[in-house]
């Protein structure tokens, strides 16, 4: 939702990033305000997943130029864990499995670590249990889920629900959902989307990175951006996603090239 008195949460200017010397992000500009839901769409290799990993602080990417301010602070100077504690959350496309570490232990470690850094009280195991079970209802999760090892043997849908559960617990000011819809059946997609919608409010913001328009039927974006070759070349409202669905991506690139020629 677009609000009048919103504050800027994320401000990306001229961001360039490369991996193993290959440039992936090329002068990316992007601004997100509180209350907003953004969708970044694009083909494979357009750089949209790289963008989400760069924001979360993945060590494989080298920032070659540009600035990123997250709630006024220089995000690029922060370690990945500091970004998480500061309120940035990335829901992974492929959440990792951690056999031998119980899900409830892991969730409590994560929650208490972040809470401590935010100057809040930790929860003991009993308090935490009540807290997490309450959040689990939001995502229609089964009770036994807490006793299992983190993501080990989870279905694709369960893994994605676990990601959104973590989002619900950490209450980030900026949540980036990287291909959260990929591989989900309609029922799982509906549950995940419902969870995200309940978490969205006027103080936080959400960036959805996706291939498919399908997710946007369930989580309605305020802005849709098209990413091609490491930068955003077109932005619009939710109707842009529908147009991309029917017409594909080529016309956007053609339009952009034509505009660039005129400008030159």
């Amino acid at each position: 939702m677009i609000y009048q008195d919103s504050r800027t949460i994320l401000e990306v200017r001229n961001l360039c990033a490369s991996v193993d010397g290959t440039p992936i992000l090329k002068n990316m500009d992007f601004t997100v305000k509180s209350g907003e839901i953004h969708a970044i769409m694009g083909l494979n290799g357009s750089g949209k997943s790289t963008f989400s990993k760069v924001l979360a602080g993945h060590p494989d990417y080298e920032i070659t130029s540009g600035t990123v301010l997250f709630e006024g602070k220089n995000l690029l100077e922060m370690e990945a864990e500091e970004r998480a504690r500061a309120g940035l959350f990335l829901a992974f496309q492929y959440p990792i499995e951690i056999p031998g570490v119980g899900n409830s232990q892991f969730l409590r470690l994560m929650y208490n670590t972040v809470q401590t850094h935010r100057g809040k009280e930790e929860l003991d195991p009993l308090e935490f249990d009540d807290f997490v079970r309450d959040k689990m209802k939001l995502l229609e999760m089964r009770e036994d889920f807490l006793d299992r090892s983190v993501n080990a043997g989870f279905s694709g849908g369960e893994k994605k629900r676990n990601e959104i559960l973590q989002m619900a617990m950490l209450e980030p000011s900026l949540a980036i959902l990287d291909e959260t819809d990929s591989g989900l059946d309609i029922d799982a997609l509906r549950i995940v989307a419902q969870g995200v919608n309940q978490l969205a409010n006027k103080d936080n913001a959400i960036i959805m990175v996706t291939h498919y328009q399908r997710l946007l039927n369930y989580i309605v974006p305020d802005f849709v951006h098209v990413m091609v070759d490491g930068r955003i070349i077109k932005s619009g409202g939710k109707e842009l996603a529908l147009e991309l669905e029917t017409r594909g991506y080529n016309w956007v690139s053609d339009e952009y090239k034509a505009a660039s020629r005129v400008a030159a």
């Binding site: 979360a56 864990e81 990792i96 031998g100």
Partner: protein, 436 residues
């Protein structure tokens, strides 16, 4: 010339080890005396293997041969309090051996319907069946350590599970080292009759930190449909030498599930040989978790001798400091062993630049119509996994430690005894400084 000199040194060393052998009192059972004397003969024909032997390429025992060792003659008197921390609350019966000598006062043999006792108390009663199986699974031919053990055979853990019995509570065999410069010869024989079920835990621990030598031999005989869980924990002292040979012979449709955890000893070697009859099933999982200058060597051989047998193996190594892990996993599929189904995987985590592993899958398949897969990975922690945890607020260091723990926990989780599983997990958590 130097070769000759070395082999003489080798045989002198073995003579030294055998010097204590005449102290093993003669048994009333002639066959047992004969077994020992033929083992003594075998030892005198053999030498301690060197790194020139293919089977010992990576494991140099010269440090062991420099030790002056004596056989323990009497059990150190330990109180129940001394061994309290090693007790398992689930265990139904416990046999304790101190430096290889049976300690009846610390043992509890009150298991109903099954035999869990020191060998000597069953020799007269069960002479025929013991003669039939003792030292028959773990052949002494060519294996100097098995021969040495048999030459010194006196006290031994004996488990006899009658037909269709189910021992719900695990049986705990605790081997405690208390003296330095002592060699002990732990020995175990498990006879599982048709359709029985039990969990046997072999546990090697130490109450002192100086050098000593444990040379263990364990034999399992599974009759048709028997189901045995075998858990083996090697947590010897940091300067110990631990060499162990285990052989399991599986009859039709029997099931042998083993988990072997190696954490202790300066140098350890575990040989596991499993022979599968028709329709038998086994798993042979292992975790070696070592650091500093430790060496842990695991050699396994799973022999699909007959059709329709299934084997599964997951062996993992966590190598820290300048430690060295060795894994040699042989899978043999004999002619006629149709429909064999075998899977082996071996994964190693090297935590430092100086950590080292030598790993070799060895498939010998003399048959078509089989399904055999194997895979091995060696590497450092996956950066994407570290990043995942960091992105949840966890520090880089704790993320690494947690993932190291999780790597090992995958094997530990397979131990079917909750308190043991939990205490090992705690050990690994402490060792990896992973705080949960």
């Amino acid at each position: 010339m130097s070769v000759v000199a070395q082999s003489q040194a080798g045989s002198g060393y073995l003579q030294g080890l055998l010097a204590g052998q005449p102290n093993v009192a003669a048994s009333k059972q002639a066959w047992l005396n004969k077994l020992r004397s033929s083992a003594v003969e075998t030892v005198s024909e053999l030498t301690i293997p060197t790194t020139r032997d293919e089977e010992w390429r990576f494991t140099d025992l010269s440090m062991l041969t420099k030790l002056s060792l004596q056989a323990a003659q009497s059990a150190n008197k330990l109180s129940a309090q001394d061994i309290k921390r090693f007790q398992l609350k689930e265990a139904g019966a416990r046999l304790v051996f101190v430096d290889g000598v049976y300690a009846p006062a610390l043992s509890s043999v009150a298991a109903k319907g099954i035999v869990v006792s020191n060998l000597s108390s069953e020799l007269a009663k069960n002479s025929t069946i013991l003669q039939q199986h003792l030292a028959q699974q773990s052949k002494i031919d060519g294996n100097v350590f098995t021969a040495l053990n048999t030459a010194h055979l006196r006290d031994a853990a004996l488990i006899m599970l009658p037909r269709n019995t189910q021992s719900k509570a695990p049986i705990h065999l605790l081997f405690i080292a208390t003296q330095k410069e002592v060699v002990s010869y732990p020995r175990t024989l498990v006879l599982a009759d048709n359709g029985c079920e039990a969990t046997v835990i072999e546990d090697y621990v130490s109450l002192q930190e100086e050098a000593y030598f444990t040379n263990a031999v364990t034999e399992f005989v599974l009759a048709d449909n028997a189901r045995i869980h075998h858990v083996r924990i090697q947590r010897e002292g940091a300067k110990a030498f631990h060499i162990a040979n285990c052989a399991a012979t599986l009859s039709r449709n029997s099931n042998y599930q083993s988990v072997n955890i190696a954490m202790g000893a300066r140098i350890s070697r575990y040989n596991l040989n499993v022979k599968l009859a028709e329709g038998a099933e086994c798993s042979a999982d292992g975790l070696a978790m070592i650091t500093a200058r430790q060496l842990a060597d695991t050699h396994t051989c799973i022999d699909h001798a007959q059709p329709h047998a299934i084997s599964r193996q997951l062996h993992k190594c966590i190598v820290d400091g300048g430690a060295h892990a060795v894994f040699n996993g042989k899978i043999m599929v004999r002619r006629g062993a149709h429909h064999t189904d075998s899977q082996q995987s071996n994964h190693t985590l090297l935590l430092t630049d100086k950590a080292h592993v030598d790993t070799k899958p060895q498939l010998e398949i003399f048959n078509d119509d089989v399904k055999c897969t194997h895979g091995a990975t060696i590497g450092q922690l996956n950066q994407d996994e570290v990043f995942y945890l960091q992105s949840r607020g966890v520090t880089h260091e704790l993320a690494r430690n947690l993932l190291t723990y999780a790597f090992g926990a995958e094997v530990i989780e397979r131990i079917p005894v909750a308190s043991l599983k939990h205490s090992l997990e705690q050990t690994v958590l402490e060792q990896t400084s992973a705080k949960l």
